[in-house]
């Protein structure tokens, strides 16, 4: 294998000169790498286990707790909202029932008033009708009587005008006979 004498390896010329192609197999550097790697790993382990991991762990736990709490609170609020909705629905249904009752009661009342008024009006109307009929009958009777009187008077006048004399009673009875006729 070719040895390397380029400047990149210049400083480590002694080591590199003896090295084969792969610097990984240059065992003269292994002690150095292993020593510093152990230092590195110990430092990383100490930093992580003492500072970083407890911190991240507590942050994650805190967040998980907060999320669990929030979910519980949300669940609670949801339950409350459901209850409120149920209460609202119940109140609405109650109000509807009450309104329906009021409507029915009012309707019945109005119906009763109406029936009463109708009865009263009917009575009044029939009274008026009876009165009217009575008046008409009276008028009719009056008219017949007046017609008979007029007929008798007229007949008497006519008899007189023809130059006859007749007993008023005879004329009256004759007219009455005729009118009955």
């Amino acid at each position: 294998m070719a040895t390397e004498t380029h400047e990149a390896a210049g400083h480590a010329a002694d080591a590199a000169a003896a090295a084969p192609g792969m610097p990984q197999l240059d065992f003269s550097t292994w002690g150095n790498q292993i020593f510093w790697l152990i230092v590195t790993l110990v430092v990383i382990y100490l930093v992580l286990s003492r500072v970083a991991l407890p911190r991240v762990g507590s942050v994650l736990a805190d967040r998980a707790g907060a999320i669990a709490n929030d979910i519980a609170a949300a669940e609670d609020l949801k339950q409350k909202a459901k209850e409120a909705e149920a209460a609202y629905d119940k109140a609405l249904a109650d109000a509807r029932t009450e309104a329906a009752n009021i409507v029915a009661a009012t309707k019945a009342e109005i119906q009763a008033d109406l029936a009463e008024a109708t009865v009263r009006a009917d009575a009044e109307i029939s009274a008026k009708v009876a009165e009217g009929e009575k008046a008409i009958a009276e008028i009719r009777a009056g008219a017949l009587e007046a017609a008979e009187t007029v007929a008798k008077d007229t007949a008497a006048e006519i008899v007189a005008a023809f130059g006859f004399t007749a007993a008023p009673d005879a004329i009256d009875s004759a007219v009455t006979e005729k009118l009955k006729g």
Partner: protein, 253 residues
Amino acid sequence: MATEAAHGGEDGGLVFHPMDQFIVKPLFGGDGVHWYTITNATLWMALTVLAIVALMVLGTSGRNRIPSRMQSVAEMAYGFIYKMVEDVAGKDAIRYFPYIFTLFMFIVTANLLGLVPTAFTVTSHFAATILLALAVFLSVTILGFVLHGGQFLGLFWVSSAPLAVRPLLALIEVISYFVRPVSHSIRLAGNMMAGHAVIKVFAGFAAIAAVSPISIIAIAGMYGLELLVAFIQAYVFTILTCVYLKDALHPAH
């Protein structure tokens, strides 16, 4: 692979140094790499630490119930690995979560930082991945024996198989058990190294005017693929760790 044309580049010839990016070299000069030397590998490990601190510590400093962007990334990483450990290794493996999370964060951050142009990819070195894999292998094995004593060996004794084939299966199980750290480490380093080297090869072709558009498109495509690989390899390493941990916690088949 390295070529003889080491000083090329200005001659216009094709020069490939796909493996040079993996060379470990001292940052501040000095002769050779000693165990304590500050190298480019050290620098990128330090940047990995800083990136993890920025994401996991500074990003979560608000402790917001409604997370900021950084905090949500940190939380996603936490939740992702936590769930993986819980699902794959079981509820009783949660106490090892910080170790597994450390592994995952280191690998994924180092992989992603390695994709920064001119970066050094820590996880492309077998030294690093073998250390990680051996750490997992040894701790899982020790944990298995500590928790279950000799019964941990029941992992290799397939009691549901016919008695005659059990010794053979046990041999296979033992071999596969000891191959675990090898495949575990080489898979990660190999993937990281291969992708980076391929990008370098394409970059070498970009020196030729005729093919440079294709080369650049290929680099862009490979880069996208490498982003995916960077994450997937970290995921694979971590989930295999969880599987091995499960074997240690519940060795019975």
